[in-house]
Symmetry: C2
Subunit: 290 residues, 2 copies
Amino acid sequence: MNSVKQAPGYYRYTIGDLELVAVNDGYADRPVEGYVKNVPTAEVEAFTTEKLYMPKSSVRVPYTSLVVRDGDKTILIDTSNGDMGPPTTGNWMDNFKAAGFDPERVNNVIFTHLHPDHINGYRLKDGTCMFPNAEVMIPEPEWEFWMDDGKMAGVPEDKQFAFKNVRRVFSPIANDITLFGPEKEVVSGITSVPAYGHTPGQMALAITSGNERLMVMADVTNHPGVFLRNPEWHVLFDMDPETAIKTRHRMADLAASERMQVSFFHAPFPSTGYIEREGDGYCLVPVQWS
Amino acid sequence: MNSVKQAPGYYRYTIGDLELVAVNDGYADRPVEGYVKNVPTAEVEAFTTEKLYMPKSSVRVPYTSLVVRDGDKTILIDTSNGDMGPPTTGNWMDNFKAAGFDPERVNNVIFTHLHPDHINGYRLKDGTCMFPNAEVMIPEPEWEFWMDDGKMAGVPEDKQFAFKNVRRVFSPIANDITLFGPEKEVVSGITSVPAYGHTPGQMALAITSGNERLMVMADVTNHPGVFLRNPEWHVLFDMDPETAIKTRHRMADLAASERMQVSFFHAPFPSTGYIEREGDGYCLVPVQWS
C-alpha cells in the first residue's frame, strides 16, 4: 500500500435549510517576526508555540472559503488564492470539485473584501475567469477604496500591488459587478454587516435560515487562535489597526452574547465554531466534526 | 447539483517516520440522564450545552480508531463498532478503504480494551472476520478478566453481554491471540502503558518514532471535552471509577508535562491534540488540520 493521501479538504454542515460547505486552500507559514506589529516577537512566539503548538518562528495561517447551497443556487463567499498563493496552497479547486461543485454553475460570488488571498481564485494568473456565470458582488466602500487611482498613487510603490491586483482580477468585468452597502440583504438569507478596519470596506456576512444564524467573520481576525485571545494585537494585515480592534470586540461580543455559530477565513479547518469570552479576550470553540 | 456528501472520515498525520491515520466511525447520542453517575443530570447538561454546544439532553460521543503505517506494515488500534453500533455509526470500513487501506493486508490489530465499541469491527454479526490475516494483540489482564467464566457468572444477567460479546468475537481465534503485559513493546515503536479503571486491563499505547511521541489514550476519558475538564466525574462506562480517576490524572499530567501529542477514541474527529491544565482539570487543544 502506498502512502496515504489526505482526504479532500471540504466539510459540510447546515444552518437551517441551507447547506454550508467549507472548502480549504491549505495554509501559509508566516514568519513570527513582523506578524504582530505592536508586540515583541518573543512574546508572540511564546504564545504561538506554547498555546497553539505551532512550530517555532512561524505562524501557520489556513485559508478556507465558504460555499452556501440554497436549493438549486450555489453561492461562494471568497475564492481563496487560485494559482497565486504560496506553494502550501493551490488545492482549493480540487477540493471544491471533490465536494461535487461545478465552478461554471456557481450563481453568486460574494467577496468580503479585496485582499489577494480572497480574490485571486476568481481569475488565474493567465487571465482565466473561474466562475464565468456567477454574479460578482463586492462591498461598495471596499470597491471605492481599491479602485481609487488617487489612493493607489498615495501609497509607496511596494504597497501598490494590492490595488493593481484588484484591477487585474475585476477590470474585465467592472461593469457587471453588483456593489452592496452595509446592512443589506445581498442575496436571500445573507446580510452584510460592516466590519471595517482590516480593510476600509470589509463586510462580514450574516447567514440566516429558520432560527439558525452563522456569522461569516471574514478577516475580523487573522488566525483566530492568536487574535481572539489577544484582540488588541495588530496583525500586519490590518490596514487601520485601531478600527480593526473595535470591530473585533464588537463582532466577538455579538457572537459570544448570542452564542451564534461563526466562521473565519483563517481559522483551522473546518473553520467554524462558537466564540466564548476568556480572560480579557475570547476563544474559538470549534464545532464537533460529524 | 445534488446535496453534498460529507468527505470521507479519515485524517492523516505523522509521528516521526510513522504515518498515522484516524478513521472515524460516526458517533452515539447518549442521554445525559445517567451518563455521569456522581453528578446531577442538570449540572452535566448545563456543561455539555453551554460549554460544548451540544444539543439539550444528549451527549454526542464520537468513535475514531487509529491506524499506524510503519513502512509496509499496517497496524490497526481498535476496530470500532462494525455492524453492531448505533445507526449513527457504520461507515468505518468505507472510511478505512477510502484512505487506501485493504483489511486483508492489515498486519496487526491491537486492542486497548475489550468493550464492544472497540472490538465489534473485528467480527461482524454474521461471524465474518474482517482482518483475517492480522495478528490479534490484547492486554493480558483484560483478556483474563473478560474470559473468566466465574467473573461472568458473578454479574447480573444484563451485564453479561460484554463478557459474551468478547467470546463471540474472539473464541474462534482464541489460540492465536498474542497477549501483552504492561510496559512492553507490543510491536516495534508501540509500547503498552497500563490505564486501568475504565476496564480492569485497559492499556494506553505510546507510539514513538525519532524524537516524536503520541499517547493513544483509548478510554482514559469518554468524551474528553467532558472528562478532561471534569476529571472526577464518573462516566457510566468506567468499571472502577476511583481507579479510572487516578489513571485519568496520571495520564493527563504526563501528557501535559511532556507536551505530548495524544489521541482519544471518543474525541471529536480527528481525535488528536494536546492536553493543557485548565482550572482544576485539563482541556484538549485539538491539532490544527493540515
